[in-house]
Each structure stands twice: as structure tokens, then as C-alpha cells.
């Protein structure tokens, strides 16, 4: 065999080739899926100082699909979610190992060389408790645009309406955009936070138990909204409600003690999970 071809072969089989070529990666990695990927978590570990909270996680995030992370408190699901927007960088001593590759740009967003601020523009996050800024409804959304450097008033006004509509809030607030965001109900505040997240045109939406502080009607509205948003965005949601994960996710990952125990399609995880630990958790048994 000529040396040049052999080298090519060797290169193709190498870890480096797999890490840099998503088409090769999809077939040869654990938890591979057939959907187009928006992000790919590869061998990710994470430490809060000395404590290892994530252990070698491999997880594909499909484009225009909802991926749910489930597991008991302390399993690492929120920690994993927060890696996607480098929120851990706000505290000293935290350390990442491995990669979260954003596709198709093929950029490792946990790389030290990547500015966390830039990552956060690409990955918008919504939290458990609605956290609007102490500003008007309009300003809450507009601030997300100003971060992007947009100053043109007309552009801002247009985009604010657009995302408020996208977040299914426009009709409820269009006549009182200058009122304080605190005047809104909890569910409306949460939809406002989602609108604020959408404003800078993120590539990935991260939801950290977005409905756990809401009543069933407000929860249903958020879920309806998530179903609409998934036509345009890759969404990762952490939820304690198994039923919610079952209702809205296309893929689901079950985590336990910092490890990803099982990843699969919604149908597999909620009807016939392969792992006993998954089964015990989702059926409410003693593990």
C-alpha cells in the first residue's frame, strides 16, 4: 500500500478525525442518533473545584428537537445544562474537560480560548424562577438586543414585537409595553424571559426547570410555546416532571451521580428503557 494512502486511512480512523468530522463522529460514538446535530457533547467531565460533578458525558443534541435531561436532584443535569452557556465560568475553581462542539461551525464552546460572552449569545437560558429585569416589558426584551450591539430604535422595536409574538405574549402585553415586567403574572414573566432569550437569535435554547414555579395553565402555555419553538431551535430542557419530559422531548437523557446512564428516543426511555436504574427512576421505585 502506498504510504500516502495508508496515512490517509490511519488519519480517518484516528480520534482527531472523529472529533473534527461530524459525519464520522455520528456513526462511531456512543448515543449516536440519525438526526442532524446542533451540538455534540464529547467525553465531557466537569469539576466544582475538587468535586467531579460530570463524568465523561457523551450526548448528541439534535437540531430542531427537544432533548430532555432527567434525573434526581444532584445527578448533574443542571450542571450539564450550565456547561452549554459557560455559566460555571462565573465562579473560580471550576474546570471542564472534554468538548461541547457546536455545529455546523464545529466549535468547542468549553474551550478556554472561546469567550464565554460569545457562547452565551449563542445559547440562551431560561431559569426555574422567572427573573425579568426590574425594567419595562419592552426594555427586558430590548436589553437582549443591545447586548448584541443593536442601537437602531426601529430595528429594536420591530424585533421586540417579533419575539414577543414568538413567545406567545404579544397580545397580552402590546398595550402596556412600558409597564414594569413585575406587573406580569408568573407565567407571563416566564414567557417574557423566553422572549428575552430569543431576542439575540440564539442557536440553542437552554431551559432549567422552566415551569416548576408555575401553575398548570401557565405550564401548558409554556409547553405549547416550546412545541412551537422547536420548529426553529435546538432546545435542551432540565425538568423534574417526568410527564413533562415525556410530553415535549424527542430525546431524553437519564443522569445519575454525574453519569449519563441512558440516552434514547422519547419512546424508548418512557416505554421500554434498557437500564434498570432508568426504569426505577421513571417508575418511581427505590433504586
Amino acid at each position: 500500500m502506498p504510504e500516502a494512502i495508508m496515512n490517509q486511512e490511519t488519519y480517518r480512523q484516528s480520534e482527531f478525525a472523529r472529533a473534527s468530522d461530524p459525519s464520522v463522529a455520528a456513526g462511531s460514538r456512543p448515543n449516536a442518533i440519525s438526526d442532524t446535530l446542533k451540538a455534540d457533547v464529547r467525553g465531557l467531565s466537569f469539576w466544582y473545584d475538587q468535586f467531579q460533578a460530570l463524568k465523561n458525558i457523551d450526548l448528541p443534541i439534535a437540531e430542531k428537537k427537544v432533548t430532555a435531561l432527567i434525573g434526581a436532584s444532584g445527578c448533574g443535569k443542571s450542571t450539564l445544562l450550565r456547561c452549554f452557556n459557560r455559566m460555571h465560568d462565573l465562579y473560580p475553581g471550576n474546570r471542564y474537560d472534554g468538548e461541547i462542539v457546536l455545529l455546523p461551525e464545529n466549535q468547542n464552546i468549553v474551550d478556554k480560548g472561546i469567550d464565554p460572552i460569545r457562547v452565551r449569545l449563542k445559547a440562551g437560558m431560561v431559569f426555574q424562577k422567572p427573573n425579568p429585569f426590574p425594567k419595562s416589558i419592552f426594555e427586558n426584551v430590548a436589553s437582549g438586543l443591545r447586548v448584541r450591539g443593536i442601537r437602531d430604535r426601529a430595528v429594536i422595536a420591530g424585533r421586540v414585537e417579533e419575539v414577543l409574538r414568538e413567545a406567545a405574549l404579544w397580545d397580552e402585553v402590546k398595550d402596556r409595553l412600558d409597564q414594569s415586567a413585575y406587573a406580569l403574572s408568573g407565567g407571563q414573566q416566564q414567557r417574557l424571559c423566553i422572549a428575552r432569550t430569543l431576542a439575540p437569535e440564539p442557536e440553542l435554547i437552554l431551559l432549567d426547570e422552566p415551569t416548576s414555579a408555575l401553575d398548570p395553565i401557565a405550564t401548558a402555555k409554556i409547553e405549547e410555546l416550546i412545541e412551537k419553538l422547536r420548529d426553529h431551535y435546538a432546545i435542551v430542557i432540565v425538568t423534574h416532571s417526568m410527564q413533562q419530559a415525556a410530553r415535549i422531548s424527542a430525546y431524553c437523557a437519564f443522569m445519575h451521580l454525574g453519569q449519563l446512564v441512558e440516552f434514547g428516543t422519547n419512546e424508548t426511555i418512557f416505554t421500554s428503557p434498557k437500564e434498570k436504574r432508568t426504569q426505577d427512576y421513571i417508575t418511581g421505585r427505590f433504586g
Binding site: 417526568m242 418512557f270 416505554t271 417508575t283 418511581g284 421505585r285 427505590f286
Partner: protein, 233 residues
């Protein structure tokens, strides 16, 4: 399978499980009694089967109610979800087994049991024993969570089909020999067909039970040896 954190969840599931076992035992009893009534022309026994079917129907409604209530209250997932849906389907098959046994019982006055020739009653007896064994095994294996046993149970339905084909031919011969046999033999053909259908419901139970226990569907094809269509031609 370990226990639920919520004890009453286990109790709800246990209640459904017990109803399935009760219905299975009742179904087996009805099948046994129906053939006995047929072969010995025992009309009072046949009557009792008709009233047992009322109990069977009531048990099925009770199970349906319990299953619906459990789904509404507990939103079962994975194995639990399969168990509840499987129970609803298995109960429907058991209820049909009861109906078919009742249909055999209803034919007792017309089938002329005591005048059935010995070899023919022997064949009927053999077939009913095969069917009865299948019903009992189905319930035992479901109760003991024996998934592999359910696979072989489903395959064993072939033996019932073979017996049915041979019984069908035997009955045709009797009718051709003497047209006065036609009325009773026609009823006996229906009885045999009912027993064969009971075997098919046992097959369904095996398939549903297997899915409940493993989460996997058995392949759609199963042994088929009912050749009566060919025998007619």
C-alpha cells in the same frame, strides 16, 4: 422489580394483577366445564357456565375501571405503563375466552352429546385438554413473569390448530356417512372452532404478556396450521 416509593401504587398494580389471575382461573374453569357439559350432555352444568360468563364480564369491567383510575392517578411509565395497558388487553382476551366457552355451553342441548360416537368424543376431549392446558399455562406464566415460557406457549398453539384440522375432517366424514348427523355435527364444528379460537386468544395473551414483561414485540408471524380451508376444497 423493586417496590414503588409510594406503597399504594404497588397495591393498585397488585389489584389489577389479581383480577387478571381471577379472570384467568374463571376462564379455564369455564372451558373445562363447557367441554364436560358438551360430552356428557349436562344441561344444568351448561346453564352454570352461562351465569359464570356474567361474572367474567363484571370482572373485566372492574379491571378496566381500575386500570383507567390508575392511569389517571399515577401516570404510569415504562414497565408500569406496559403492565396496565397489557392488563386491559389481556382482560379483553379472557373475556372473549369466556364468551366462546359460553357459546359451547349454549350448544349442549342441540349437539347431542350422549350420541356422539366414542372416537369423535375422544378427539373433542383431546382438543379441549390441549386448549385448557394452554389457558392455564398462560395465566401461570403471566403470574410468574416467565417471558420465555410465553414464547413457547405461543408456538404451542400449532398443536391446537392441527387437532382442529383433524377434528374438522372427522366431523365431515360423519356427516357424509349419514345426513342425520348433520345438525349435531354442525354444532360440534362450531364448538371445535370455538375451542380453536380460544387457543388464538391464548396466543394474544402470550404476545401481550411478553410485551408487558420485556418491552419487546414478538415477531408478527406465528405458527399457523389451520388447514380446514384446504380440507373444504
Amino acid at each position: 422489580m423493586s417496590e414503588h416509593i409510594v406503597t399504594s401504587f404497588d397495591q393498585d398494580l397488585e389489584r389489577i394483577d389479581k383480577l387478571i389471575r381471577d379472570m384467568g382461573e374463571l376462564g379455564a374453569e369455564m372451558v373445562a366445564d363447557a367441554t364436560r357439559a358438551l360430552l356428557s350432555s349436562d344441561e344444568p352444568l351448561a346453564q352454570r357456565i352461562v351465569s359464570e360468563d356474567v361474572i367474567m364480564d363484571a370482572r373485566q369491567r372492574e379491571l378496566d375501571d381500575a386500570a383507567i383510575a390508575l392511569i389517571a392517578k399515577r401516570q404510569p411509565m415504562a414497565q408500569d405503563l406496559r403492565t396496565v395497558i397489557g392488563a386491559i388487553r389481556i382482560a379483553a382476551d379472557l373475556e372473549r375466552i369466556g364468551d366462546l366457552a359460553k357459546n359451547v355451553a349454549k350448544r349442549v342441548p342441540s349437539a347431542g352429546g350422549s350420541t356422539i360416537p366414542k372416537p369423535l368424543s375422544g378427539s373433542l376431549q383431546t382438543m379441549s385438554e390441549l386448549v385448557l392446558a394452554q389457558v392455564r399455562r398462560a395465566i401461570a406464566m403471566y403470574a410468574s413473569r416467565d417471558a420465555e415460557g410465553l414464547v413457547s406457549l405461543r408456538e404451542d398453539d400449532e398443536r391446537i390448530d392441527i387437532q382442529y384440522t383433524s377434528l374438522f375432517r372427522e366431523l365431515l366424514t360423519y356427516m357424509m356417512e349419514d345426513p342425520r348427523n348433520i345438525t349435531s355435527c354442525t354444532h360440534l364444528i362450531f364448538c371445535a372452532k370455538n375451542l380453536e379460537r380460544i387457543g388464538d386468544h391464548v396466543t394474544n395473551i402470550a404476545e401481550n404478556g411478553y410485551y408487558t414483561l420485556t418491552g419487546q414485540q414478538l415477531p408478527a408471524t406465528r405458527p399457523k396450521a389451520d388447514e380446514t380451508a384446504a380440507a373444504q376444497g
